[in-house]
Structures are given as structure tokens and as C-alpha cells.
């Protein structure tokens, strides 16, 4: 089955809900990544069930970012298998991985990464645009979902850090991805906004979305369903 066929057959996917194709969203086996002689990841195997909210934790240099880049199809493993929502994605071409990423993955970044000259609403619509067609009403619904409908016409520079991160979450949600990958989403936020964003992620989990949170904050890790710990590029027991 080709990537496009697999995506087309994913007809049961709901707008902001999970797919019903299978229970397993992430299934990685023996994953490894080498940068020359340096092994950033070695023999990493785990899975994430649909609707699960897991945290990937570990100290700096443990391979969290490398693993996240591979999970988000922004990088390739040098060893092992990676199945995303039932599709073997590690061996796909760059073009195919781009298609999978926009169809299946919603990304939330530590530094928000919003386009500075687009309003909050337009930033959300941008993800729709690359996925299919920008729809103002749907984008507005996504902003309402994160409590920012009233700030839709504000530029990122006119929003607080917490608000920018909520726009980023709305953008990640807009195409109903099978997986939301959040990389230190509260890393640049104060305590109040950290609580707000984590509450939002928990609500999304309660709605049935699959979320992988990368963090080195143990308090945040404790609020997830399960923690995957990395140590020197390997899963810690």
C-alpha cells in the first residue's frame, strides 16, 4: 500500500480526534541514530497507544531531541524501524515524509515558531493551507478550543508567551493529527502559563488525542500517563 493510499483510506479520522485504524500510533523497534562515530540513539524500542499521553525525559545529551526529530520525521534513524499510525515511515522519501508529517503529526515547539507577520488566526490557517485548504471558520474553532478566539487578529508580537504557545497548539491540532509532538512546550513560559498549557494538553488527552511530550521537568512528566526515560541515547530501565 502506498503512502497516499494509506492516507486516503484513513477515512474514519475525525477533525480533531484520533484515527480508529489501530491501537498503536507509534511503534519503534531497535531505533538507532549515529552522527559519524557518535551514537546519539541506540536500540530504542517502545510504542505509544492511541489516546496515550507520554513524556520522554532525560538529561541534556540523552538523545531526547534526536528522538523527537525522528518521531516528527524531521530526521531519519540510521538503524531500526519506525511505524507511525501503521505506516513504516523510516524508509520513505523526503517528499513522502513531508506528506505524512502534515497529515499525521502536529508539532508544538519550545520557541513557539509562529510566522511574525501573520495573525494568530492566519498562523493556524497556514497549517491548514499546507495540509489541504485554509478554512477560516475551522481555524477560529481551533483558536476557541485553546481560549484565544478573541486574540485571533493579533500578531505574535502582540501576544504573551503563553498565548503564543496556545496558538502553536491550535496550529498543531487543526489538521486532526494522529500524533501531537510537544518539545518542551512550557520551557519558555512562567509558572502560570506553564499550568495553562499543561492543562490544555491534559484536556486534549482526555479528548482522546495521542501526545508525546519531551521535557526534563519531572513535575510535568508526572502529569502524563507514562514516562519514557533516555540515558546516554538508550532507554533507561
Amino acid at each position: 500500500m502506498t503512502v497516499s493510499n494509506q492516507l486516503t483510506s484513513d477515512a474514519t479520522s475525525s477533525r480533531f480526534g484520533s484515527t480508529e485504524q489501530g491501537r498503536m500510533v507509534i511503534d519503534i523497534r531497535g531505533l538507532g541514530k549515529r552522527f559519524g562515530a557518535v551514537a546519539a540513539l541506540q536500540d530504542v524500542s517502545f510504542d505509544v497507544q492511541r489516546g496515550e499521553f507520554i513524556a520522554i525525559m532525560g538529561p541534556s545529551g540523552s538523545g531526547k531531541t534526536t528522538l523527537l526529530n525522528i518521531l516528527s520525521l524531521l530526521d531519519r534513524p540510521t538503524e531500526g524501524d519506525y511505524h507511525l499510525d501503521g505506516i513504516a515511515v523510516a524508509s520513505l522519501t523526503e517528499r513522502e515524509q513531508t506528506v505524512i508529517r502534515r497529515e499525521k503529526i502536529g508539532l508544538v515547539f519550545q520557541q513557539f515558531h509562529l510566522i511574525p507577520y501573520l495573525s494568530a488566526l492566519e498562523n493556524v490557517m497556514l497549517a491548514q493551507h499546507y495540509h489541504s485548504v485554509a478554512d477560516r471558520e475551522e481555524a477560529l474553532e481551533a483558536l476557541e478550543h485553546v481560549g484565544l478566539a478573541q486574540r485571533r487578529d493579533h500578531l505574535p508580537s502582540q501576544l504573551s508567551g503563553g498565548e503564543q504557545q496556545r496558538v502553536c497548539i491550535a496550529r498543531a491540532l487543526i489538521n486532526a493529527p494522529a500524533l501531537i509532538l510537544a518539545d518542551e512546550p512550557t520551557g519558555n513560559l512562567d509558572a502560570d502559563n506553564e499550568g495553562l498549557v499543561m492543562g490544555l494538553l491534559e484536556r486534549l488527552r482526555d479528548e482522546g488525542r495521542t501526545i508525546v511530550l519531551v521535557t526534563h521537568n519531572p513535575d510535568l512528566g508526572e502529569r502524563t500517563d507514562r514516562i519514557v526515560r533516555l540515558q546516554h541515547g538508550r532507554l533507561a530501565s
Binding site: 477533525r15 531531541t65 510566522i115 499546507y130 485554509a134 474553532e141 486532526a176
Partner: protein, 398 residues
């Protein structure tokens, strides 16, 4: 949350186009200074290309008109006539000459005059009489130095022009009476000298009268020996015109006067070559300037391009956005450049040729084509750089 309708969303091209246009517009307006530099560079390039192509298409005519000051560049003689002039030689029917001259393309002919030659007696000495069309002669002989004035009316058979040496030999002055007698002494006319001609050539020994008077004096009604034409045509064109006339009028032979025609062509070729060189150099400078600006723009936008790729933009989307932005800049710059270029062409036309340059529609697509080509060449490397951006690196701030 509303349920998705993938069919509806995917089919809505106008919404996609609207979002794409908004992205391009916002991206352009937010980078005013850099866009201004790229726009300025393309504008200058388009203006120079527009000005030089305007001149290029106009210059052949303008320069040929200027070069017509060198005199006639085409000669018409009877077919297989070994010599011209002299009573008894066979000439061309003046009507045939008029028809041949009339057959030349409108606007190509600067002037033309038939010539009928014969030997006559002037009071005390013999001289060569030349029957001409004075208006045509004046047009094809702008370099003649004339003391007094030209005979202007075609029907004026009381005034003549004489060569400088004859005037000196016979001590003629402006207004002097002259009696012209034909060889058989069967005709004679009393005329006055209206102008004394100094060309430094054979004309200085000739007497110029209107063609009908010469035909009567030489007893060769409706005849001429040859015609001299000044035609706006470069070397190759003069040959083509001559061949065309010779084909249509079998009784005559038409020859470009090589030295003049080829000189016309060589001078024009050199000027056009110089203009092409200047245009090429300016376009290369434009390419370098636009390339540097676009490269800087890509560098400044690296995080955004990385983000766009991370959230699903394919390489095609990135390329399309950059090409659309470049196209918008190019369209605005070329539209302005065409106006500036036309004004520049007027300045150059006035400075070099003392004439206004005519607007030629072909300049518009040519300027657009060359400017677009330059902008696209300039955009190749920056766009390639944008496509090669690795999201994982730039989103982490590497």
C-alpha cells in the same frame, strides 16, 4: 469542533490561491527595505534594457537618416548601358524612373533625382549640362556648398545653377545672364545664375537646369540617363531594395553605392553592438544585485522556511512562494522600468540624434522577457538554498 470534509477542502482552489496570495503579499510588505533594493535593481536593469531596445529599434531609422547626409546611396541606370550621358546614348524613359522611385516603400526614400547629361555651349565655351529635379537633387546632396540659392520650382526654366569652376572660368556671378546653346545650334535659351555649386567633384564643371529644359535643349524628350536615390536602408536592405526594383522594372539596373551603404551598415552594427554590450553588462549587474538581495532574504527567513517545512510545506510550496514573490517584484519593477526607460530613451535620442524616439510595442515583451530571465537566474541559488534548509536544525536555532 466541526468535522472535516476533505473533498470540499481539497477542491477549493480559490481558497488556496487566496491564502497563497496573502502569504506572498505579507511576506513582501514586511521586508520593505530589502524588497526595495531588489525592486530598484530590476527597475534599473529594465529601464536600461527598455531604453536601449527602444533606441535599437529606432536607431536604424534615425542613424540612416543621419547618414543620408553623405548623399545618394543607390544609382539607377539603363540595363546594360555601358556609359551614361551624351547625346545619342540610349537612356531611360523618365516615366519609368518615376514609377521605380514611386515603387519604393513609403518613408524609405529621402530624395531622388533623375539626371540627363549632354554637352552644350555657354556663350564662349562648352560645358556639361545636367538636367535634374532640383528638389530631389537638394535632398540627395545635403553636403553641397551653394552660393546664392537653390532653384526651387520644377517649372523654373529661367534660372540655373553652375559649378564653381565654370563660374570662375566664365566670371559668372549670382544673377549673371547665361546663354545656353545646344550642339546643333538649333535651340538656345537665356537664363540667369541663381546658385554657384561647390562640391569639390565633377559637379563643379557642370551646369544644372531643370530636367524638362535639358530634354528640350538636348532633344531627348522624356529621357534621363540615370537617377540617384538616397534611401534609408542598411547594406543588406539596400541590396534587397535594388534587387526588388530590378525585378519589377526590367529596363533598369539598380545598384547600391557600396562605399556608402556598407559604411551605413558598419556604423550601425558597431552602435548596436555597443548597446547590446551595455545592456548585457547592466543585466549581469542586475542579476548579481538581485541574487545578493534574495540570498540575504532567504538567510533572514531561514527559521520561517524551516517552520513552513516542518508543518508540511513541500519543496514545491517553498519554491512557488519565492518565485511568486520574485515575479511580483519583477512585474512592478519592469512596469516602472519601462516608463523610466522610455524617458531615458528620449534623453538619449535627443542628445545623440536630436530626435524623439518613437514608442515601439516590441520593447515591452522584450524588456519583460529579459528582466524576468535575469530575475529568475538571480533567484536560482537563493531558492535552492531555501529548499535545502533542514527544519530540525533551524528550529533548534542551529
Amino acid at each position: 469542533m466541526a468535522d472535516a470534509n476533505p473533498g470540499r477542502r481539497r477542491s477549493d482552489r480559490s481558497l488556496r490561491l487566496r491564502m497563497f496570495s496573502m502569504l506572498v503579499f505579507r511576506s513582501l510588505t514586511v521586508r520593505g527595505s530589502r524588497i526595495g533594493i531588489a525592486l530598484g535593481a530590476i527597475l534599473v536593469g529594465a529601464a536600461v534594457v527598455s531604453a536601449l531596445t527602444s533606441l535599437y529599434f529606432d536607431i536604424s531609422i534615425k542613424m540612416s537618416e543621419e547618414l543620408r547626409a553623405f548623399g545618394a546611396n543607390v544609382i539607377v541606370t539603363p540595363r546594360s548601358a555601358g556609359q551614361t550621358g551624351g547625346e545619342g546614348t540610349h537612356g531611360i524613359a523618365a516615366e519609368t524612373l518615376r514609377a521605380a522611385i514611386g515603387a519604393l516603400p513609403q518613408g524609405k526614400i529621402v530624395g531622388a533625382s533623375p539626371f540627363l547629361y549632354g554637352v552644350v555651349r555657354l556663350d564662349v565655351a562648352n560645358a556639361v549640362l545636367a538636367g535634374v529635379d532640383f528638389q530631389g537633387l537638394r535632398a540627395i546632396s545635403p553636403y553641397w556648398q551653394v552660393e546664392g540659392s537653390w532653384v526651387t520650382a520644377d517649372f523654373d526654366d529661367r534660372n540655373v545653377m553652375v559649378g564653381r569652376r565654370i563660374a570662375q572660368t566664365m566670371q559668372m556671378k549670382i544673377g549673371s545672364p547665361v546663354t545656353i546653346i545646344n550642339r546643333d545650334r538649333t535651340h538656345q535659351v537665356q537664363v540667369r545664375v541663381k546658385g554657384i555649386v561647390d562640391t569639390g567633384g565633377a559637379e563643379d564643371d557642370q551646369v544644372f537646369v531643370n530636367l524638362p529644359l535639358a530634354q528640350r535643349l538636348l532633344d531627348r524628350p522624356d529621357q534621363a540617363d540615370l537617377a540617384m536615390l538616397s534611401v534609408i536602408a542598411r547594406g543588406g536592405e539596400a541590396d534587397a531594395l535594388a534587387a526588388d526594383l530590378a525585378r519589377r522594372f526590367p529596363d533598369i539596373e539598380v545598384r547600391p553605392i557600396r562605399k556608402v551603404s556598407q559604411a551605413d551598415g558598419k556604423i550601425l552594427d558597431k552602435i548596436e553592438g555597443l548597446m547590446a554590450l551595455v545592456a548585457t553588462v547592466v543585466l549581469i549587474i542586475t542579476i548579481l544585485c538581485v541574487n545578493a538581495t534574495l540570498t540575504a532574504m532567504v538567510a533572514a527567513r531561514t527559521p520561517q522556511i524551516g517552520l513552513q517545512k516542518a508543518i508540511g510545506a513541500g519543496n514545491g510550496s517553498i519554491v512557488a512562494q519565492f518565485m511568486a514573490e520574485t515575479t511580483v517584484i519583477c512585474v512592478v519593477a519592469v512596469a516602472l522600468g519601462l516608463g523610466v526607460g522610455f524617458a531615458l530613451a528620449q534623453v538619449l535620442g535627443q542628445a545623440v540624434f536630436g530626435a524623439w524616439v518613437t514608442f515601439r510595442p516590441v520593447v515591452v515583451p522584450l524588456t519583460f522577457g529579459l528582466s524576468f530571465a535575469a530575475a529568475l537566474i538571480a533567484a536560482v541559488l537563493p531558492v535552492r538554498g531555501a529548499v535545502r534548509i533542514v527544519p530540525a536544525r533551524v528550529l533548534k536555532g542551529e
